[in-house]
């Protein structure tokens, strides 16, 4: 089980992810609603894993991922995008993302992916 930071600009998606991850026994250490906030919260909270939305205000998810990787090259970040934004996968993986989830998602698969990334 891990300490997780959830980054998404919509409250609904954050609440959904929080419920899924909490039901899997993880601890939600914080939430952020934009890329800048995500980098600041990562530094402050030092989570085991971050779920990161791609399209967000201020800094987008890829920029936030790169910012977090500058602070911690071993950071475990799972990207989370809407259908139709899958083109970003390659860029995200190149930027150091450890996993990739497309909305809408199913709870058991999300938990499996988070477990895999945490164990990697």
């Amino acid at each position: 089980m891990g300490k997780i930071l959830i980054v998404d600009d919509t409250l609904f998606m954050r609440t959904l992810l929080k419920n899924i991850l909490f039901s899997g026994g993880h601890t939600i250490v914080g939430e952020a609603e934009n890329g800048e906030d995500a980098i600041a919260k990562y530094q402050e909270l030092k989570p085991d894993l971050v779920t990161m939305d791609v399209v967000m205000p201020k800094k987008n998810g890829i920029e936030a991922l790169q910012g977090i990787r500058e602070i911690d090259p071993n950071a475990k970040v799972v990207m989370c995008t809407a259908v139709g934004q899958e083109q970003m996968v390659k860029l995200a993986v190149k930027s150091g993302a450890k996993g990739y989830i497309v909305k809408p998602f199913q709870a058991p698969k999300v938990l499996e992916e988070v477990k895999n990334v945490l164990g990697a």
């Binding site: 419920n19 899924i20 998602f105 199913q106 709870a107």
Partner: protein, 264 residues
């Protein structure tokens, strides 16, 4: 010509036989079965049983065997049966439950659209997506070898997982295939404005696996409201009832039992 050990269903009984496959058709050693591939219009695979539907015949021919043998039979049938078929690259599954499948690769093979399902077949795999399990078909783009290329994305249900498969072929045939697949599954089409925003949110939460209590908490709505939305989803054919939960309260006898049970 290969000769394969199978069991063939004859008048409700399974008879062991050798099945010979040649370029035109298949024939059993005991002559209970002789089929030309071109006469086959549908194929279904359930566990270790293959159901083969012949044009003009009501009852399917059923063959049972081990997976390796059935794989050879399926491949031969899919490559030659009477179906809409073309050479493609496919990736199945590419996404499962919203999570990218890490070891997914493009496979070179074919796609055959039969009555009951869409089959992808390659040298090593035959994957069937039953028509009834197709959730959506759309044209989209994927990066393949550094280029953005048009592909067909098929979302389908596999057990309880929502799975995405991708099909890639030249744009001319891709458009024809897309039209054909859309036509084959048009009974599932919806306008997209059938649900109000809150009902759509509930549908999304059900998709994600949330139970009723979680949905009530997340949206801050009453059980009665959620029940009403469930009714809407059921009426639209978007959901079905899987569990009816009962709420009970203890009778006086029940309260007495609990009181007695907790006495030191």
């Amino acid at each position: 010509m290969s000769s394969l050990p199978v069991k063939i269903e004859v008048q409700g009984k399974w008879i062991a036989a050798k099945l010979a496959l040649d370029a035109e058709g298949m024939k059993s050693s005991d002559n209970t079965l002789a089929v030309q591939y071109k006469s086959i219009v549908d194929l279904e695979a359930k566990g270790s049983v293959l159901s083969i539907v012949i044009k003009g015949q009501k009852d399917p021919i059923r063959i049972a065997s081990v997976a390796k043998v059935l794989s050879i039979v399926k491949r031969q049938i899919l490559a030659s049966c009477s179906a809409y078929r073309l050479s493609t690259f496919f990736m199945s599954p590419a996404v499962r439950g919203g999570v990218f499948v890490k070891d997914a690769n493009w496979e070179k093979g074919g796609i055959a659209v039969l009555v009951s399902g869409i089959w992808f077949f390659s040298k090593d795999h035959q994957i069937c997506v039953p028509m009834d399990d197709v959730a959506s078909i759309e044209m989209t783009k994927r990066e393949v070898q550094g280029k953005n290329i048009d592909v067909i994305k098929i979302d389908h249900i596999e057990e309880s997982d929502v799975v995405t498969s991708l099909v890639l072929c030249p744009i001319t045939t891709l458009q024809v295939l897309y039209n054909f697949l859309k036509e084959s599954t048009k009974g599932m089409d919806m306008a997209g404005n059938e649900l109000d925003p809150q009902s759509a949110q509930v549908a999304m939460l059900v998709y994600s696996g949330m139970d009723t209590a979680s949905i009530e908490n997340m949206l801050n709505v009453s059980q009665r409201d959620v029940d009403h939305i469930y009714d809407v989803l059921i009426k639209q054919g978007l959901a079905e009832v899987v569990v009816t939960r009962r709420e009970v309260k203890l009778t006086t006898k029940g309260v007495r039992y609990i009181s007695d049970a907790t006495k030191v």
